[in-house]
């Protein structure tokens, strides 16, 4: 497999992130707001407002949401040893959407919707791991075939949970008053228009950094876990402890991301795949690389989403899918 030197990949991704931020801050319906960085006069006050209170929080939120989803996706793919796994496919994003929508219909505000989505994400993940706990935390699978079937079992359970969430969503949508349909639609497709709180954005970045650090401490054992539970255990990995930690990290990452940006799909799926092709499958490189790539992807997608048809804003989830699907298919075709 062609793998580029890890340092070069990570350096390129950091540069791409910086370029993405510059682009996100510069682009928009109000031109020239970057001048507020050097100009502190009265004239620049409105530019400064747009820059610091609108674009920066939104850009940071986009990056954090993308990074969190990519982190959760790459962890779930590694834990299940299946390239199909991510929070979206396993129904976690769907569960979050049900929670948010239920809160909205109950008359809750933005905060209530965010709490509802976090709760929905956690309940779905809890249900997934409860239903599939034997496969996931039970005895070591001493035969390779059994291990494969067990991880398929988790994946199938997740797909079924996603279908169940989709049915619940349709039910709630059928009950929802017409006036709220549009904002519901946007949330379901993933939307960053509400992300204007700088402190919330910074908090999400801190959560991202903490979760990445926590995952990175398990990167070496995770490398071994990829080759089977039995193999990893025999070579000295405390399999159950590593699993427990990483499942918790991916649950927290998904819940934070959906709370921030709604049900953005494909990032958790595409970013790790893209990076695996570029940088190889060493989790010590793959985890930070996926986080950076996921962040850049959502940042760029959101910049396009709010500028392409300005003043109309598109939901960012539509853009990540429109970019993600062709990229992914071209990758799969080259496998």
């Amino acid at each position: 497999m062609l793998a580029l030197p890890p340092r070069r990949v990570l350096a390129a991704l950091v540069l791409a992130a910086l370029a993405g931020f510059a682009l996100a801050l510069a682009m928009g319906s109000v031109p020239g707001v970057l001048s507020a960085l050097v100009d502190s006069s009265e004239d620049a006050a409105s530019s400064a407002m747009v820059l610091w209170q609108l674009r920066l929080p939104r850009a940071l939120s986009a990056f954090a949401a993308g990074g969190l989803l990519a982190l959760a996706g790459s962890l779930l793919q590694a834990l299940l040893r299946n390239p199909l796994a991510d929070a979206y496919v396993l129904g976690v994003s769907g569960g979050a959407a049900v929670g948010a929508l239920a809160a909205l219909l109950a008359g809750a505000g933005l905060l209530g919707m965010q709490a509802g989505s976090a709760l929905g994400a956690f309940v779905t993940l809890a249900a997934l791991f409860l239903l599939a706990r034997r496969a996931f935390f039970g005895r070591l699978h001493t035969a390779a075939r059994v291990a494969e079937e067990a991880s398929n079992g988790v994946l199938l359970t997740g797909v079924m949970l996603a279908a169940f969430s989709a049915a619940l969503l349709s039910l709630l949508l059928a009950l929802a008053p017409d006036a709220q349909m549009r904002s519901i639609m946007f949330w379901l497709l993933g939307d960053l228009a509400g992300a204007t709180d700088l402190r919330a954005a910074l908090a999400a970045l801190v959560v991202l950094a903490a979760l990445l650090a926590a995952a990175a401490t398990q990167a070496r054992p995770l490398n071994l876990l990829l080759r089977g539970d039995l193999q990893a255990f025999v070579q000295g990995v405390d399999v159950r402890r590593v699993r427990r930690r990483l499942v918790l990290v991916s649950a927290l990452a998904t819940a934070t991301a959906v709370t921030l940006a709604g049900a953005v799909g494909f990032v958790g799926f595409v970013a790790p795949h893209l990076m695996r092709r570029l940088a190889g499958n060493d989790q010590r490189v793959l985890l930070p690389a996926s986080v950076l790539a996921g962040g850049v992807l959502v940042l760029l997608a959101d910049t396009v989403a709010r500028t392409a048809m300005a003043p109309l804003q598109l939901p960012v989830g539509v853009l990540t899918a429109l970019i993600g699907v062709p990229v992914f298919i071209s990758l799969v075709r080259r496998l």
Partner: protein, 254 residues
């Protein structure tokens, strides 16, 4: 290498409700080479996984260095024993060298010394040209020899090998048996299906009937035509090819 002994005291093994091994008493001393024989489904792989601490015995105790094996933590256990399982997962592509170097985990990861050790074991099992190859492009026989080199790269004194000569052509079958028999400083417990390979490798033998029964002892006492015929429920003759040489021929059933 410091040598641990492994012991079974009254070990019972079950597959679901089916009794495989009952009240097994076994003491594997440092430096001995045990061969485990028995019909398909007799519990050979189950026994090896149990000895490795990867599954609990359904009764009795497995002691490593006198301490129940479930009390050992994974890292300390990895320094004492390695296991060749009966199959592998290669869900993502990786080079052969990186795959072998996973065995260095307990030693803090791959370093130059680790790469040298891995290279030496790969060469001894006729895999010298394989390190840069993708594991998923290997034939089953090649993949199996890479797995054996991985087990040895872990540098644990006790080796538990589940059918080490599976998938090997005649030349490599002989090579693997010979290399395993020549290992110095290792204790071996290996399941095999080839009786003549077993004779060449074993200092001791354990026969598992798959219905609870077992026979354990020095190879020259246990590996005889009558006991093997009874074990496999088929006629097995000893051929007298040369003085002192035991060579078994299996007759077709019926």
């Amino acid at each position: 290498m410091n040598h641990a002994t492994i012991e079974c005291r009254g070990v019972r093994l079950q597959a679901g409700t089916r009794l495989l091994v009952d009240a097994l008493e076994l003491r594997v001393d440092a430096g001995s080479r045990w061969v485990v024989l028995g019909p398909n489904g007799a519990g050979k792989s189950t026994l090896l996984a149990t000895l490795a601490g990867a599954r609990r015995a359904d009764g009795g105790a497995v002691l490593l260095d006198g301490r129940p094996i479930e009390q050992w933590d994974a890292q300390a256990l990895a320094a004492q024993r390695a296991l060749l399982p009966d199959g592998w997962l290669d869900p993502f592509s990786a080079t052969v060298l990186d795959t072998v170097l996973t065995a260095r985990y307990r030693l803090g990861g791959a370093d130059e010394h680790g790469s040298r050790v891995a290279g030496e074991w790969l060469a001894r099992f006729d895999c010298a040209a394989l390190p840069p190859r993708d594991v998923r492009s290997l034939s089953r026989g090649e993949r199996q020899r890479v797995a054996i080199a991985t087990v040895l790269t872990q540098e644990a004194p006790l080796l538990l090998l589940d059918e080490p000569i599976a998938h090997q052509d005649p030349r490599h079958q002989a090579l693997v048996v010979d290399e395993l028999a020549r290992l110095a400083g290792h204790t071996l417990v290996a399941s095999l299906h080839d009786l003549n390979a077993a004779v060449r490798l074993a200092t001791h033998a354990l026969l598992l009937s798959g219905r609870g029964g077992w026979i354990a002892g020095p190879a020259e006492e246990v590996l005889n035509a009558e006991q093997l015929s009874a074990l496999f429920d088929t006629r097995i003759d000893r051929l007298h090819t040369a003085p002192g040489v035991r060579f078994f021929a299996v007759r077709p059933p019926r």
